[in-house]
Symmetry: C2
Subunit: 209 residues, 2 copies
DNA sequence: CCACTAAAGTGAAACTTTTCTCGATTATTT
DNA sequence: AAATAATCGAGAAAAGTTTCACTTTAGTGG
């Protein structure tokens, strides 16, 4: 089985499957068929099986998958069998909300640093992290072994902050700013553009009128 | 030219192109080639032309596109030649951050209602909107002509809140809760799953190790 | 222990999206 | 006025993704 290139859509679905399995675990369900997962998350059963097939054979023909076992596999595949320290740059409303977002902690992401340039925000307490100066970026990344950075600064500052994260050795960046930013090839970038998402809705609404 | 089915990826890129064009407008650039847009937002020039081709012929061969004109077309296509009133359900950190998010206002999305079930949040002031009881959902949707709802409630409440939005006549939903929710066919749904995004990063980091 | 049923796994087909290539058109230069 | 350069638009090709249909295997009931 070749694991050359996994479609990003597959990875996103795996993440969703894993959360669905977690629900099943809590309900003490032991086995689950691809069709159950499929109807639970709104895809086809063939899709579920194809997605899993990239990584191995986890099921038993005629029976299905053991929930706990498959869940373990998925968490491992997603790299969630470990904890990740995360740094957030930008302590505005969005950065603060993300820092306090329970969904991250539940999945093994721990926000260990929040930095900002604005003196009014520095020293502010967010959860159990204190906002610090952006000058400490490199130091915090190094001492906390941070691989993942989250950018929640205004568009104008996004590229600059990203460059600093890259220079400090961060390997993956989640960008919430509404600006296209560039990173070297060996750094993984994902954009969560809140406006784009609303605009896709707007487009579809305008279309059906 | 058939406008039967536009890929969602195309719509998302149009949104990004339009913001890039807005920058050019501010810099008083008059014309732009598909290649300029392409390198500005990190796609291929053929991709830009194909995306635009779904909607018409906006350029001049040998020359390029008039920035202002193309910008106007894109805004129209995206349904941003009008303002949209938006209701947010869930006045927690994330809901509050979104309500105050400047990027929405800039693009014609106005948050006119924020509702919650929690009495501790009701009456709170967020920007110039006061948090109100979820009981007012139908009333506010009706009187404010709301088509777009944003769900920022905990996973357990997401489906229930969504059903209420649908019942009230909302036609498009942006779901931030980490739960797969179901809507009728005629309602447009988009999910912004913050954890999924981090997990895609985690997957790729784990892969390259 | 054999027939039957359920469901995973898989190769091929269908479909979708992106990239390539090239003819057409416009502006510019000589 | 003709040659040249730039760049769009579109059909074809390529690549990628999803769905289909079938084969295989494990468990179950007679």
């Amino acid at each position: 089985m070749k694991v050359y290139k996994i479609p990003e859509a597959t990875v996103m679905r795996l993440s969703i499957y894993s959360r669905f399995l977690h629900q099943l675990l809590e309900d003490e369900v032991n086995t689950v068929a691809s069709g159950d997962i499929a109807s639970g998350v709104g895809v086809s059963s063939a899709q579920v099986r194809k997605d899993l097939a990239y990584f191995g054979e986890f099921g038993t023909r005629g029976v299905g998958y053991k929930v706990e076992e498959l869940y373990g596999h998925l968490m491992k595949i997603l790299g969630l069998d470990q904890n990740w320290n995360v740094i957030i740059i930008g302590a505005g409303k969005l950065g603060s909300a993300l820092a306090l977002y329970k969904g991250f902690e539940d999945r093994g992401f721990k926000v260990t640093s929040i930095l900002d340039v604005d003196n009014k925000r520095i020293m502010k307490q967010i959860g159990d992290v204190t906002v610090e100066s952006l000058d400490l970026l490199e130091e915090r990344v190094r001492e906390q072994g941070i691989k993942i950075g989250v950018v929640t600064v205004p568009a104008a500052a996004a590229q600059d902050v990203t460059d600093q994260l890259v220079a400090a050795g961060v390997k993956a960046i989640l960008n919430f700013s509404p600006r296209v930013i560039k990173v070297p090839n060996d750094v993984i970038l994902r954009n969560v553009d809140l406006s784009v998402n609303l605009e896709v809705l707007s487009f579809n609404l305008a279309l059906q009128k």
